[in-house]
Symmetry: C2
Subunit: 409 residues, 2 copies
């Protein structure tokens, strides 16, 4: 009986696994327009200042600030308007003392000018003269050269996942191609004599394989490529053949084995045949998902997930997703949560991490989190849940009425 | 001067716009395997019970519970073991009183059995006899027929966005195709005589158009199809021709106009020519983004965003994303936030919604949110931000040290 193993915390298991992983990171050059969600592999530097010219941020008049000093409603400054600056064009004159030039938001300041007076602070006297009713300081109402970003500054750091505004930042300085990490390839293998593919009708005593497809969607969501290998029989030969060919073409293998002790034993044996060092750890200090297998075979991570779908999904969140982020060289990003009031006691044990699916219930005053109870082989526990709460290693449970942080799933 | 308009709250503007939108929702049938992130258009019902047979959740022995009543360590129940049930196969016998059958996790219970004793609670005496060391209740350690989901039950509701576990729930009952909403098509038009496409080198006084691509990425992220129309000149003819042809082929038009008053006036004029009723509202009670235009042209929403990228992005979050969700018929979902301590006072005015980009700074004890200051035409304010905080309509600002909720962007 191998159920009685020494468990490791998720953190320790991940550290152990990372220390064994040896995968050379693959980089590809892609169009910035298609870079949403990709992870930066080489930090782009700004090839130029942005903006490259001094721009007005207001509709009004380009002036020499000194000409407006002391101006007021009762004692305005009088300026001659000789020019209008059109947006997108280069002013072909120099603004002299005592002059103002009509300017629109976004237009370029003429040489000689060092500030813009908002149109609301002026009064037109004639086509060629205005009153300025309040002073402006040099630099007021304009964007200086390089104020957005300066030439040579790094735009995005290595390991950063590209967001919509980052695409804008890159394109603003003309970076239309960037180097990003190739998506890691994750092979997913299901095993179990009771499994049939979802498009087949199971005979009595059989069920459809769903874990592979849930996992594939989870991994794709964070930028991995997935290869669903299909269903292996519960024999060394079948499992090993499929696992080997899957791992050969991938950077990582995730096996969703059965939940019986014999299925675990079989998975462990097969993993040890896939490469060195093989199984690093069998058993995590988590619930559900204790019999998880953490392995590394010739540098590639191999994870044996429990067969129950709820356990498989929750352990994949704890173990597989962090490893995919690691393979992507991605910087850690915080995860937003919903704060809710727990509707029901949750029992746990110290020294173990628990994940509990919950439903969010919005009342007038507050949001409640209600545990979705049931066995961990019931996938509808997750379908009916809005999120999960985690009971930490040092907590012996959570009490009704406590504030909890719900991670949406 | 049309800057001095009567503003509406975001909520009122959205209500007004929704009351004018008339777009017939388009539905398409897709493979469940590819349904991640799509929005359910017809609620699938479970075609069968899940599971369809009684399954063991433990490795152990299928028994008649009554045979174990009163069993204890010192006075065990003795049962004859005649059969082993293999996973995936139908037991071809009926379990009689006084009998136990070896069973694995996930295997089918034989007729006659009504509970499973965990192997850890038994002692093997011989190949055909065990001691049961504690009693089990009927139904213990098994999953009943339909315990996961019952035939005829709705699996996912209309308007639900498909998550990984939902794919599992659908496939578990053999639903390999589902009806989802077609992605709404959003046309995006930039205008401004100073703009050039990002792959062109701007002349002095020109800048690259970036808003269109930031917006496209934002809209794609939540499931819209986007069509970047290009850059119109600041003339009625150019704008109207491009806007018309864009809106003809889309469900919605988003215009990113210049920020000058004349650009707004032009946009408003063009929108009024696109269809009835045209401009519904010019001016939102927000900062940045006050001069936003909300319109509906012959049933299709048209939004005139400010030209400054920061304003365009923030207003798009307030106005365009909710309208895309609305066109998708999507149910509202909560958004997770990071709770942080504000590092710096933020001034605001009651009656106005403010969005402030912030950087998150993790100290040992807590997370700080530090406002990323700067003008709203500086895209790097958003590139350098991790999220945004919102100062509500009824708040006159936020104070250093206050707890704020940061929405990641």
């Amino acid at each position: 009986m191998s159920e009685f193993f020494v468990v490791k915390t998720v953190e320790d298991a991940l550290d152990l696994l990372k220390s064994e992983i040896q995968i050379s990171k693959q980089i590809e050059r892609i169009s910035t327009y298609n870079a949403l969600g990709r992870v930066i592999a080489r930090a782009p530097l700004s090839p130029s200042d942005l903006p490259t010219f001094v721009r007005s941020t207001m509709d009004g008049y380009a002036v020499r600030a000194a000409d407006t000093f002391g101006a007021s409603q009762s004692l305005p400054a009088y300026l001659n308007v000789k020019h209008t600056i059109h947006i997108g064009t280069t002013p072909n004159f120099t603004l002299l003392a005592g002059e103002a030039a009509e300017i629109h938001t976004g237009a370029m300041l003429p040489p000689g000018a060092d500030a813009v007076v908002m149109v609301e602070r002026t009064q037109k006297i004639s086509d060629c003269e205005i009153e300025v009713l309040s002073p402006v300081a040099p630099g007021e109402n304009l964007v200086q050269i390089g104020e957005d970003i300066q030439q040579g500054q790094p735009i995005l750091l290595i390991g950063h996942r590209v967001r919509p505004q980052d695409i804008g930042g890159l394109l603003a300085v003309g970076i239309t191609h960037i180097d990003v990490m190739m998506p890691p390839k994750v092979a997913i293998l299901s095993s179990g004599n009771e499994l049939v593919p979802p498009d087949k009708t199971p005979a009595v005593a059989q069920i459809r394989d769903i874990n592979a497809y849930i996992l594939a969607a989870m991994f794709q969501q964070i930028g991995a490529k997935t290869h669903v290998l299909g269903i292996a029989h519960d024999t060394i030969e079948s499992l090993e053949t499929m696992a080997k060919s899957g791992l050969d073409q991938a950077d990582m293998l995730v096996m969703s084995a059965g939940s019986s002790v014999s299925a675990h034993d079989l998975t462990r044996q097969v993993i040890n045949n896939l490469g060195k060092p093989g199984v690093l750890q069998h058993g995590l200090a988590v619930k559900p998902g204790k019999p998880t297998i953490i392995a590394c075979c010739d540098g590639k991570p191999v994870i044996g997930l429990p067969g129950n779908p709820v356990s498989a999904v929750l352990v994949a969140r704890w173990i597989v997703l962090p490893i995919i982020h690691y393979l992507l060289g991605e910087r850690a990003r915080p995860i937003g949560t919903i704060r809710a009031t727990l509707k029901q006691n949750i029992a746990s044990t110290t020294g173990r991490l628990d994940a509990v699916p919950v439903k969010l219930i919005q009342s007038e005053q507050q949001v409640f989190a209600e545990p979705v109870l049931g066995k961990s082989n019931l996938i509808y526990r997750l379908v009916n849940a809005d999120g999960i709460i985690t009971v930490g290693l040092n907590q012996s449970g959570l009490k009704t009425g406590e504030q909890v942080e719900v991670v949406l799933i």
